[in-house]
Symmetry: C2
């Protein structure tokens, strides 16, 4: 799906910031797309941008109203439905991260049909994918992988996108999760794709590109997570990753939602290379990204120095210390211009 | 889903046997459930069982009419729709392997609602799964794995079920594909499950059981297949396989649908053990199953002897030479009574 930008951010009347986590993520990474917000009476979230009426939003060029909030119980409350219908009538598309499909609510479906506006359900996909082919395609691809779920994989590639673009490099964040799809305006939440099409969907998300173009793919789960390793493997194969960054959260004792111990960073590097070789024989790591928010700065720097030495890779906390070291390594491992060789120039 | 048995087999007016492949598979493995068939004028398939009217089928105890045929173009032809509606009115449930959902055809949906009969779409699932937990559960589990897709994984576990039951062992085939679901009357086509829930669905398909009970799980794809390795890995983790049989087709030169070379049997054994250990540290192989239909008997026996010697495992073609050697090995590796230890008996 391609979501038209810029956005009007709908916050409803959520009881706290956490319920609007997706909206804050969009605002953090795409402030230029977040023209204004709609808050209903009692709303406890505030993106710090202007409150706009639907008419004002349209006048300022908004194309889509984004519902980046979680509602209790999974049912769309009636007073949200009427606001959504009003937005459609005002000329806005709607993009929603709710479990409930917008089109499953008859009054919303009717209003969309009557106004000719689009409904995007980011948790679902109407896209039909081919199965993955594993055929080498031009362009460079980096995948963030992890020792676990929720260790900063999305944040790491978004930070890389920002840093690489600042150096004039041609790089695009490629979303594989709900918040990421809003941030990129495109992509597929992999957890909405049927099992047989994981790697095919990733080939679609990160298609053939210019030899020096970098797709920065948001990883999911972990090859060592008993619930999600299949998703992580399909992502790795579909990405045909040239390189990867290992993301880690040092205070975690067991993997999220299960009782399994965390793998070591070295184990993740080794298995990612071993399995990734199936679709890219030259895959190799360029860095380690650690979420150090629970450590004092001194302890964080010591940990990162130790990891860098142990693995021979730049190690950083992207939020605290930036990603320059990883970009430097990326450019030395994959110098611009060298990518052309991977396209397969025909013999003279 | 649980499909009520026995079945009335609907063959429609398919132009050849291949279009009724699923129906033949059900008839081969569950002849006792296939009470009769319905063939429309022009039908080129014949299961060799009695042609019955809907009323005769109901009188003989049929509970479900099974649509185990592929229709051209994916659209349900009008003359099939009227037969399906008539079957519902006669008192039969309908189970379909078609891409089109039965309930998406208004006249079928209305007839099902009016008669209170069930519609089963085997390619789709309305079941909600939890994510896999990777927690050890009692009971024994064998998974068929492969060097590729379509190398006899379903056939191998069905042959094992038949052979083990003949020896009085407690064993159940567990389906993960469309034809398998009809054969077991239960299960989930894994290619209908959303990516995040592969291993969770497999935990549901093969739940906790008596310590000496064997679930014989139909594998899918291959850990080495660039399109489907994620599915194969989720299956392996969800199965928590105690053991596995490697299935192979010796004349194949590239993996199905892609240009990748086939892995060796040894590579499949090694990677299955390496990755399977995440949810079952004691995983080990008990046999090799080879589809030798393209080889003369002498050549087939030589190949199997060589493979058995090379890998130190029983190697057989389940169709040609049976599965006794694999069952012998299974019983010596996992003697009945020993399984009780895995349940975790509380200390006195």
């Amino acid at each position: 799906m391609q979501i038209e930008t810029p956005y009007l951010m709908f916050l409803g009347d959520v009881p706290d910031r956490l319920a609007a986590k997706t909206a804050y993520g969009i605002k953090d990474w795409r402030p230029e797309w977040c023209v204004g917000q709609v808050r209903l009476p009692g709303c406890a979230a505030d993106l710090g941008i202007q409150d706009l009426s639907l008419e004002e939003a349209v006048a300022r060029g908004c194309k889509t109203m984004v519902i980046g909030v979680a509602n209790a119980g999974g049912v769309l409350p009636e007073h949200w439905v009427s606001e959504i219908v009003a937005a459609l009538k005002a000329g806005l598309d709607i993009a929603s991260g709710l479990h409930t499909r917008l089109g499953a609510v008859p009054t919303i479906a009717e209003a969309a049909a009557a106004t000719g506006r689009q409904l995007h359900d980011v948790r679902h996909t109407s896209e039909t994918f081919a199965t993955g082919k594993g055929t080498k395609r031009p362009g460079r691809r980096l995948l963030s992988v992890g020792t676990d779920c929720s260790v900063g994989k999305k944040y790491t590639v978004l930070a890389l996108e920002r840093g690489m673009r600042a150096r004039g490099l041609d790089a695009d964040f490629r979303a594989t999760g709900q918040t990421g799809v809003f941030i990129s305006g495109r992509g597929v939440a992999i957890d909405a794709v049927v099992a047989d099409f994981i790697s095919g969907a990733v080939e679609w998300i990160a298609p053939a590109a210019d030899p020096d173009h970098w797709d920065l793919l948001e990883g999911q789960g972990s090859l060592f997570h008993p619930s999600f390793a299949g998703v992580s493997l399909g992502l790795l194969h579909g990405a045909q990753a040239d390189t990867f960054v290992v993301c880690h959260e040092p205070t975690r004792t067991t993997m999220r939602g299960v009782r399994h111990a965390l793998p070591t960073i070295q184990a993740v590097i080794d298995l990612t290379i071993q399995l990734g070789r199936l679709t890219n024989p030259d895959i190799r790591p360029v860095g380690i990204a650690v979420n150090t928010q629970d450590l004092e700065e001194e302890a964080a720097r010591t940990l990162l120095d130790d990891l860098a030495r142990e693995h021979g890779l730049p190690a950083t906390d992207p939020v605290r210390f930036g990603v320059d070291g990883i970009i430097d390594r990326l450019l030395s491992e994959f110098p611009p211009g060298a990518g052309i060789a991977t396209v397969g120039v025909p013999a003279p």
